[in-house]
Structures are given as structure tokens and as C-alpha cells.
């Protein structure tokens, strides 16, 4: 398909092609192998890596210099604007004697182009016209073209969609990379089991490949020990399935790292010993910070008008306030935290702490450190001196743990 678009070397092709599809549907891989196997002159750039337009343009020129003349030392080129780029680009093409071939510039993760200067994307789209050379720009992205289109209008590229791999495709692809020690069928059966467990949650080819590699040694274990032969799929399945499920809850979510997982497999230990990342949710806070955080939470989720009822009548009884809050909770929690002024926070703090709190510098600095810890966030930066406003960003569960 692409080949037909590219046409012959000498022919002018589409000025720009836009290829999109979901994560790991093979866009980059297909482009790379295509260009490499056909030995087409090309430049391959990742837009995330070259995060400014200047870096991006310079990188393209550098690669262009080196792509045909390996022997020559690439000198550093300065290129600040697109105008310079077009000029230098023409020079480069002439000097490398590429006039008679189509040059391909592939921009991976092209969605980053939108964040750069406004002229970059439209200019790349009509590079052929601007430089008057035989060049094709290929954009690779995960999002659809409609989200790219700048409001000033631009040259429409030829769009091409890469569909997601189906389960069959995934299986074929995964099975192809079988380890040399084992037969294809054996590995294919393993992949089949793996997909059965993971296909529901993950269709990312890279991730699946990674998981397959991680868990394969466990799958082979009975065979190595001689308890089962390679054809004994059912036995192997029984052995591996709970293991894979465990993996889904831990490694896949990156609760524990893959190297820890491997060590675990080797030692045959229980993953219970290794607590995952989310097991350590408890945060120790100083005494007054806890109260500050609770006060902030109350201020964020309770409407102002209820303050009087909650904090004056039942002076200093935090349990009561929590209890009474229940009937309003549903709506307020769906709406998210509301900003509140500093005064209100302190007033609530004074009423929920049993003994008197002196408004010392330490209390105020604790508020700021809570902001740096991202437990509170400051809203509106314009009048920080007069009356700063904050928002409480922690969840109910967290506040429950703190209040305990």
C-alpha cells in the first residue's frame, strides 16, 4: 500500500503523508523497515526528543548530511528559523546529489509539532512546494488528523490509518519471536495462554512482549524439571495460569518492578513479602499538619454557610462534623474541591483543635510545605499577600487515614 504511494524513486510523490493509529500498531516499525530494506534516502526524527523547533530542524539537517556520506564528518549547523531550514535543506540536497530520488522525512510522534511555533506544521506539510525538491514528509501520530488541522488552514496531507492488531495478529506476531531452544508450537501455546489472561487489559504489543519474556521461564519450569513434555499443554496451563494472574496485578501495574519479579521467580518466593508501591500509602504528618489538612478538607468540601452550624454549636467535636456532613457528601464529592481563603482554613483549624493554637510562623510555614507536597494547592496567584486561596487536593480515603 505504502509502496504504491511512494512510487518510483524518481517520481514526485505526495508532499505529505499522515499516518495514524493506536499505540503500537506498527507504524514506526513498518516505516523504518520499509525505508531501510528499500534503502531509500530518509531522515527519521522523533519529535519528543527534539523538543524545540530549532533542535528538530538541526537534527534533520544533520541526519541529512550523514545519511548519504558516512565518511564525511558532520559539522554542526545552525538553523533557527524555517526559512534558514529551507535554504540549508536545498543546499544539502544538492550537495548530496539526491535530486533524482524522493527523500523521506519521517516525523514520529508528530503531535508534538502542534506545541511548537505555529508555522512549523503547515510548513512541513508543504515542504515539497517550498523547497522545490522531491521530498515527502511522513507524519506518524496516535491521534487523528482532525485534531492537527491548524485554524489558519493548511495543505491537506494524505491520511492513512493503521488499524489495531486483532488477537490473531497479536498471536502471530508474538509467536514469531520464539526463543531458539524451544519449538514454535510450544511457544505459540504459551502465547495463547498469555493472551487469554492479558488481552482483556492490555493490547499493547510492546507490553505483551515484555510480559511474555518475563514469564516464559516460569512456563518452562515443568518441562525443564521433566514433569511434563512440551505437548502437555493442559498441565502447563494449570501451572502458569495463577502465576500470570499474579503478574497482572503486580508487574503489569508496575507495583513491583520487573527485575524484582524476576528475582522473585528465581527464589520462588511469595510476592506477599514484597509490598507494592501502593501498599505504602500511609503518610506520616506532624500533629498540626494533620489538623491543617483536615481543616482544609472540610473547608474544600463543605459549603461556607454550614460552617456556623458545624463549628460553633459543637465546638471542638470533629466526629460530629464528619457525621453530619454525610448527607451532602455525594454531591460535593462529585463536584470536586472548592477553593477557600486562608482565614477560613485557620478559623476551622482553631475550632477543631482541642487546645489553643498560637498562630506562629511554624503553622504558616506548614501550610506552604503542604502546598509543596501537593496535598494542598494554591488557587489564583494574583493576590498572594492579601488573601491567598487554597484547594485541598487529597481524597477522602487519605483524609480518613490521616484523621485516624
Amino acid at each position: 500500500m505504502l509502496l504504491s504511494i511512494f512510487g518510483e524513486r524518481q517520481q514526485f510523490s505526495f508532499p505529505s503523508i499522515f499516518i495514524y493509529g493506536h499505540t503500537s500498531s506498527g507504524k514506526t516499525y513498518v516505516m523504518q523497515t520499509l525505508l531501510n530494506t528499500l534503502q531509500l534516502p530518509h531522515v527519521f526524527v522523533n519529535c519528543v526528543e527534539y523538543f524545540t523547533s530549532r533542535l528538530l530542524l538541526e537534527e534533520i539537517l544533520m541526519q541529512l548530511q550523514s545519511c548519504c556520506s558516512e565518511t564525511e564528518q558532520t559539522s554542526h549547523v545552525h538553523c533557527d528559523t524555517f526559512n534558514d531550514f529551507v535554504r540549508l535543506f536545498k543546499q544539502a540536497v544538492v550537495s548530496e546529489e539526491l535530486e533524482d530520488q524522493t527523500l523521506y522525512i519521517v516525523l514520529d510522534r508528530a503531535e508534538q509539532l502542534r506545541e511548537m511555533e505555529a508555522n512549523i506544521l503547515p510548513a512541513f506539510l508543504r515542504l515539497q512546494e517550498l523547497t522545490d525538491r522531491n521530498v515527502t514528509v511522513v507524519l506518524l501520530s496516535e491521534i487523528v488528523w482532525e485534531l492537527f488541522r491548524p485554524n489558519t488552514g493548511c495543505f491537506e496531507p494524505f491520511t492513512l490509518y493503521f488499524p489495531d492488531y486483532s488477537i490473531g495478529h497479536l498471536q502471530k506476531i508474538l509467536s514469531q519471536n520464539h526463543p531458539p531452544e524451544y519449538s514454535v508450537d510450544f511457544y505459540a501455546a504459551y502465547i495463547n495462554i498469555l493472551l487469554g489472561v492479558f488481552y482483556m487489559v492490555c493490547r499493547d504489543l510492546k507490553e505483551l512482549q515484555h510480559l511474555a519474556a518475563l514469564n516464559f521461564s516460569k512456563y518452562c519450569e515443568p518441562v525443564v524439571r521433566g514433569e511434563a513434555n512440551e505437548r502437555d499443554t493442559r498441565k502447563l496451563w494449570k501451572n502458569i495460569e495463577p502465576h500470570l494472574k499474579k503478574a497482572m496485578h503486580t508487574v503489569y501495574l508496575r507495583e513491583i518492578s520487573s527485575s524484582q519479579w524476576e528475582r522473585l521467580q528465581r527464589d520462588d518466593g511469595e510476592p506477599g513479602q514484597l509490598k507494592g508501591l501502593s501498599a505504602h500509602t500511609h503518610v506520616e504528618l506532624p500533629y498540626y499538619s494533620k489538623f491543617l489538612l483536615i481543616a482544609a478538607y472540610l473547608a474544600s468540601y463543605n459549603p461556607v454557610r454550614t460552617d456556623k452550624r458545624f463549628f460553633l454549636k459543637h465546638h471542638g467535636k470533629i466526629r460530629k462534623t464528619n457525621f453530619m456532613k454525610k448527607h451532602e457528601k455525594t454531591s460535593n464529592h462529585l463536584l470536586g474541591p472548592k477553593p477557600f481563603p486562608l482565614d477560613r482554613l485557620l478559623a476551622i483549624l482553631y475550632s477543631i483543635v482541642d487546645n489553643r493554637v498560637a498562630p506562629t510562623a511554624n503553622i504558616f510555614s506548614q501550610i506552604t510545605s503542604l502546598v509543596t507536597l501537593q496535598l494542598l494547592s494554591m488557587v489564583g496567584h494574583n493576590d498572594q499577600l492579601d488573601g491567598p486561596r487554597y484547594k485541598c487536593t487529597v481524597s477522602l480515603d487519605f483524609i480518613r487515614a490521616v484523621a485516624r
Binding site: V48, S259, H280
Partner: protein
């Protein structure tokens, strides 16, 4: 600052003494810190080695080919005491430089608003640390690279390659030294000091970029996390966090850290300086209630030392016992007088017979002798106190609900405060101790024996004997029980009772013995003569310095200007408004009487009446209908000063009003 203080108030020798104490405590805390973090650092180092070795081997095995290459990442959970982190990171970088790699970069969120800035910072730091390692001869290289830092990963990789190649081509001797410490291609460690504050986008981009080059550049990330590791998941989407190979490292909790410091620093007989109960309480409260910062605790402790040596004249004698005796011998007459003025010494004098009283109060030489003796007593008291305190702590820490506190510091405070055996908590803990089971009692006794044996006090030989005797008795009891069970299948009720009572008797004995120890040795320090020499007790000073209350200070300054200005004219009774006070004070007092919105005209009028009251009735008559321009100007200035201090702000609701930003009257 403290050095000069010492020199002003005391002989030079003593200034140096202060200085050495400060050094001492600093050294201690540094040492302790290192010990505490050792475990953590060891784990980290081994992690880094592991992650590195994979890179080194470059295996072409099937599994390695298949696995997507992840960036090894250490999530370092450090606790919320952000102020202490710097110290930890500093020692971490030292450890890493010595053991793993010279290439370490520390990134802070405030320096990295974008990927570009991050890369700049990263490369700058990496290339500088290269200079550190290979000294001056390579400077020309560094200069070249500094001239054109192209902040991209490619240039970073180029740099890395050139650096590692260089190490290879070095002279053999040098190579050996470097390879003994680092490997051929040491990993590049990037530390994100405050993970929470980094913006999501910057982190994501950086991770995506570096994951593409992980094959060429052995990168290791360290996330410094203050809250909980969940923050990684909330900051990074799955597509990004799947590029990382995260392992968790937890540092010691700051409370444990504090306990160790107190244990090593305060509860040591050899350290002459002690904290009084109130002071210690202030320091601990600041720690627990406010910041969890061990560093601040240590700083507070240092402040105490400085305060003590600057404000207490008799602190000359606060040093090691041998020195203190020498110094006591060479005291001047004034210094002797100072000692006589001490309340604890007066109490001591009063308890003596009358001839001795006279001798103590008039003869300097006799006083010096007594002082030496008393100092020795004090020293012995300290040694005994600490051993018995630890012993009592062994007991109380076994009790359910910890009536005397779980930590030794709480027990220490209770003992310093007053006679601990008179408190209810002590009574209840004794009650509980009488109900302990045998195995607990035995282990406790064994621990106590260890404590006493290792203690430096000389009086504990008998105690050790006694405790050992208890232990043997328990063992005998056990033996008796066994034979009984062995020989007689059924025990009669009466016999069983007898057995139990035997055990109970012994238990009572043990508890009573411990009680007697406590009564003997855990006398509060302020009952001891000359305790002022070693103990720092003025908690109010410390509170003023460490727990500043800006609002209250401002309020007193404006409400009661005499307090700071010390002008006799300003001395007035509370409540009334004196016209002699500065304008701003008058305006402030007037504004306290108003509600949320203040009418400027009314305020001005009130102000002018107060000011005019001084000038007498004739002046009053002259300007009754119209306010003087000068007074008007003074008023406006005072009001704008108040606005600057943040008490009022212009209101949009009513044009001629200002809004109060504070609430409440005086």
C-alpha cells in the same frame, strides 16, 4: 556569632570550650545520620550495581532481546520532613561518588519548568562533575563543550561516549585506580529531589526521551518522594510508567531518627551539657507538632548550648569532670559569688549546720572544695540516673498501653519534671508490672543486667548481684514447676495456689526492688545542688526564638509600643489610647474597635480627637470643625502603613471604606 558571645562574656578559654561543644554535637549528629542512612544507602548502591551490570553484559540472550528495556528507577521515600532531605541527598551523592559513579545530577523542580531547562541543568551538572573526577588536565575539553552545549540527548550521549572512551585510554595506573572504584562505563544517575513538585509533562517527556536512548546511555533515575510512592502513578500515565523499572526504598522514619539522636546525644553521661525538662519539651513539641525536622531539632539544641553558655555565668563549670574540677579550683571571687547566688546552692547551704553555712558563704577556698565535691556528686548522679532510666524504660515499654510513654524520651521528661514515683502513671505502671508473666519478667531482668553491667556507674555491683539472684530464683521456680508437672499428674488446688504465690511473691520483690532503684536514682535534676551548671532551663527564650509568632509580635508592638520602644512616656495602662504613641499605634488601636468595613472619615475623626487631646482645649477649639492638614497627612501615612502590614485593604464594596483583613478585637 556564638564565638564572639563566648569571648565577650567569658575568658577566651571558655569561648573555645563552647566552640568545641558545638563541633562535638555537630559531629555526633552527622555520625548518627550516616549510621541511620547506611542501610538505605547500601540497598541503593546494590540496586545501582545490579541495574548497571545488566547494561554492562549486553547479553544477546533471547529474553533480553524480547524485554523492552526499562529505565532502572529507585523511588526513595524520605518522609515529609523536607528540610532534612538536603542532608540526606548530600551524603547520598558522596556515597555514590565513592562507590558507583562520578556522574550524578541533582534536579530540583524549581529549576526545571520545561524539558529544555531540565536538559540544560542536567548536562551542566554532568559535565561539571566530570571535572571533579579527573582534575585539571582535561579542562580544555570541558571548555570546548561548555562553549556549545546543544541540549539534546544526542550530545549527551556523545559526551558520555567520549568520557568513557577517555577512561579506557588512560594510563594503566590511573585506569586501575578508577576501575577499582567505578566500572568501565559507570551509570549516569539522575536524582529528582522533589518528585511531587515536578510538572507531569516535563517528567513524562524526559522519561520518554531517555528511554529511547537507554541502550546507549546507562541512565538510572532516583525519585525523591516526600509523601507516598502513589505519587508516581498519579504523576505518570501507564504508558510512561511502563518504561520504568521502579524499586522502592524507604528511609528511616523521622521519629525513629529523633529517638536515636536523643538516645545518643542527650542520654549520655559523658556529654556535660543537659537540657531541662521544659526546654526538651519545647524542642520535642516543635518536632512532633510542626515540622518533623531532625535538623531543626539539632539546631534548636545548638541554640540551647549557645544560650546556656552566654546567659549562665556558672556554665564555666559545664565541661568534663576533670576539667571542671580544675576550673573550680581556679575560680575568681566574683565567680564564687555567682555560685553562691544559685538557688540550688542556697538550698544546700540552708541544709548545713551553721558553722558550715558561714564557711561556705565567706571562705572561697572552702566553697571551691565543696563545689568540687558537689560536681562529682552531680556526675555520679548522671551516670546512675541514665542506667536506671534505661532500666525503667525496659519495664515500662513492656506494659500494655504504655502509661509512662513508649519512648525513652517521654520517660526522661517525666523523670525530669518531678519525682516520678509520685505520679499516677507511675503507680499504674507498677500495678501493671505486678501482673507481668514470667517470661517477660525474665527477659526484662536480663536486659537490665546488661544495662547495668555496661554502665560506667560504680555503685551497681550490688544491683547486678541482686538482679542475677532474682533470675536464678526464677529459674529455680521454673525447674520446680517442671518436676511437679512431670511427677504429679494432678495438682491439688492448694498446691497450685502455693506455687503461684511463690511466683507472685518473687514478682512483687522484683517490682519493689525496681521501685527502690527508681526512688534512689531518678531524683529530678532540679533537686540536685548545682544543677544550674549543666542544665539549660529557660524554655521561654527558646520558644521565642524557635516558635516565632509574627502576628502576636506585631500586635504587641502596635498595641503596647512601650514593650519595644522602652520610652517611659509610652508606659500606660492597657485599653486607653495614649496620644503620645506613634501614629500607627493609635490608628491600629482605633481600627481594632471597628467591624469588617471601616469608614475612613469616622476613623480620621477619631484619630484627630485622640491626637488633639494633648494640645489642650484651646487648640481643640481652633480646629473643631476642620481637621488639620498635618494631622490628615499623618493619618493617611499611618493607614497606608497598616495596609502595607496587611491589616487592611481597599474595599470595592464601598468607596470610602477599607476592609479589615484580620478579625477579632484586641
Amino acid at each position: 556569632m556564638w564565638q564572639s558571645c563566648g569571648l565577650v562574656f567569658f575568658p577566651i578559654k571558655h569561648g573555645l570550650n563552647v566552640c568545641s561543644h558545638l563541633d562535638l554535637s555537630e559531629m555526633f549528629t552527622g555520625q548518627i545520620q550516616e549510621d541511620l542512612n547506611k542501610q538505605l544507602f547500601d540497598n541503593l548502591v546494590s540496586f545501582l550495581r545490579r541495574s548497571h551490570s545488566e547494561f554492562q553484559e549486553k547479553t544477546t540472550e533471547w529474553t533480553c532481546r524480547m524485554k523492552s528495556k526499562e529505565i532502572p528507577t529507585a523511588a526513595l521515600v524520605l518522609g515529609v520532613n523536607v528540610t532534612d532531605h538536603d542532608l540526606t541527598f548530600r551524603s547520598l551523592s558522596e556515597v555514590l561518588q565513592n562507590n558507583i559513579t562520578p556522574y550524578i545530577a541533582f534536579l530540583e523542580a524549581k529549576d526545571c519548568p520545561g524539558v529544555k531547562k531540565l536538559m540544560q541543568k542536567l548536562m551542566g551538572q554532568l559535565m561539571n562533575c566530570y571535572v571533579d573526577v579527573d582534575s585539571s588536565e582535561d579542562e580544555d575539553y570541558v571548555q570546548v563543550s561548555h562553549n556549545r552545549i546543544r541540549c539534546s540527548m544526542t550530545s549527551l550521549i556523545n559526551w558520555y561516549e567520549s568520557v568513557t572512551k577517555k577512561t579506557d585510554s588512560e594510563t594503566p595506573s590511573k585506569k586501575r585506580t578508577s576501575s577499582s572504584r567505578h566500572w568501565q562505563s559507570p551509570p549516569v544517575v539522575v536524582v529528582f529531589k522533589d518528585m511531587e513538585s515536578f510538572s507531569t509533562k516535563v517528567l513524562q517527556d524526559f522519561i520518554v526521551i531517555s528511554s529511547q536512548h537507554i541502550h546507549e546511555l546507562p541512565l538510572v533515575l532516583i525519585f525523591g518522594i516526600a509523601t507516598s510512592p502513589m505519587i508516581i502513578h498519579s504523576l505518570l500515565p501507564h504508558s510512561v510508567s511502563s518504561l520504568l523499572c521502579i524499586e522502592l526504598f524507604q528511609s528511616l522514619s523521622c521519629k525513629d531518627h529523633l529517638s536515636t539522636i536523643i538516645d545518643k546525644l542527650l542520654l549520655r553521661a559523658s556529654f556535660p551539657f543537659k537540657l531541662g525538662e521544659k526546654v526538651l519539651q519545647v524542642l520535642i513539641n516543635i518536632f512532633l507538632y510542626h515540622d518533623f525536622s531532625v535538623q531543626n531539632f539539632v539546631k534548636g539544641f545548638q541554640l540551647c548550648i549557645v544560650e546556656h553558655f552566654c546567659s549562665q555565668p556558672v556554665s564555666v563549670l559545664c565541661c568534663q569532670l576533670v576539667d571542671a574540677k580544675k576550673r573550680a579550683d581556679s575560680l575568681s571571687h566574683d565567680q564564687c559569688e555567682n555560685i553562691r547566688k544559685l538557688p540550688s546552692f542556697r538550698r544546700y547551704v540552708e541544709s548545713q549546720v551553721s558553722e558550715k553555712q558561714i564557711a561556705l558563704l565567706t571562705e572561697d577556698t572552702y566553697l571551691k572544695e565543696t563545689t568540687q565535691k558537689l560536681l562529682e556528686d552531680l556526675h555520679v548522679y548522671h551516670e546512675n540516673y541514665l542506667s536506671v532510666l534505661r532500666c525503667l524504660h525496659v519495664f515500662t515499654s513492656f506494659l500494655p498501653k504504655y502509661p509512662l510513654g513508649k519512648q525513652i524520651r517521654e520517660l526522661h521528661c517525666a523523670c525530669l519534671e518531678n519525682q516520678v514515683w509520685e505520679t499516677e502513671e507511675y503507680e499504674s505502671s507498677l500495678q501493671l508490672a505486678r501482673m507481668l508473666n514470667k517470661s517477660d519478667l525474665v527477659t526484662m531482668l536480663q536486659q537490665c543486667v546488661e544495662i547495668f553491667v555496661s554502665s560506667s556507674g560504680k555503685e551497681f555491683d550490688n544491683t547486678v548481684e541482686k538482679l542475677k539472684e532474682f533470675l536464678t530464683q526464677f529459674q529455680k521456680l521454673e525447674g520446680g514447676c517442671k518436676t511437679d508437672l512431670y511427677h504429679l499428674q494432678k495438682l491439688k488446688e492448694s498446691r497450685r495456689y502455693k506455687k503461684l504465690t511463690k511466683f507472685e511473691m518473687l514478682r512483687f520483690d522484683v517490682v519493689d526492688y525496681i521501685d527502690s532503684l527508681v526512688r534512689n536514682y531518678l531524683v529530678p535534676a532540679n533537686h540536685k545542688t548545682l544543677h544550674e551548671i549543666a542544665y539549660f532551663n529557660t524554655a521561654s527564650v527558646l520558644r521565642e526564638h524557635l516558635n516565632a509568632a509574627p502576628r502576636i509580635a506585631l500586635h504587641t508592638a502596635l498595641n503596647n509600643p512601650y514593650r519595644y520602644l522602652k520610652n517611659q512616656e509610652l508606659k500606660s495602662d492597657e485599653g486607653s489610647i495614649s496620644n503620645k504613641a506613634p501614629d500607627i499605634c493609635i490608628v491600629y488601636k482605633l481600627h481594632l474597635e471597628c467591624g469588617r468595613l471601616i469608614n475612613l472619615v469616622d476613623w480620621l475623626e477619631a484619630f484627630s480627637t485622640v491626637v488633639m487631646a494633648a494640645e489642650g482645649p484651646n487648640a481643640d477649639a481652633a480646629s473643631s470643625d476642620q481637621v488639620d492638614d498635618i494631622i490628615h497627612a499623618r493619618f493617611i501615612r499611618a493607614v497606608s502603613e497598616l495596609e502595607l502590614l496587611g491589616f487592611i485593604k481597599p474595599s470595592k464594596q464601598k468607596t470610602d471604606h477599607v476592609a479589615r483583613l484580620t478579625w477579632g478585637g484586641c
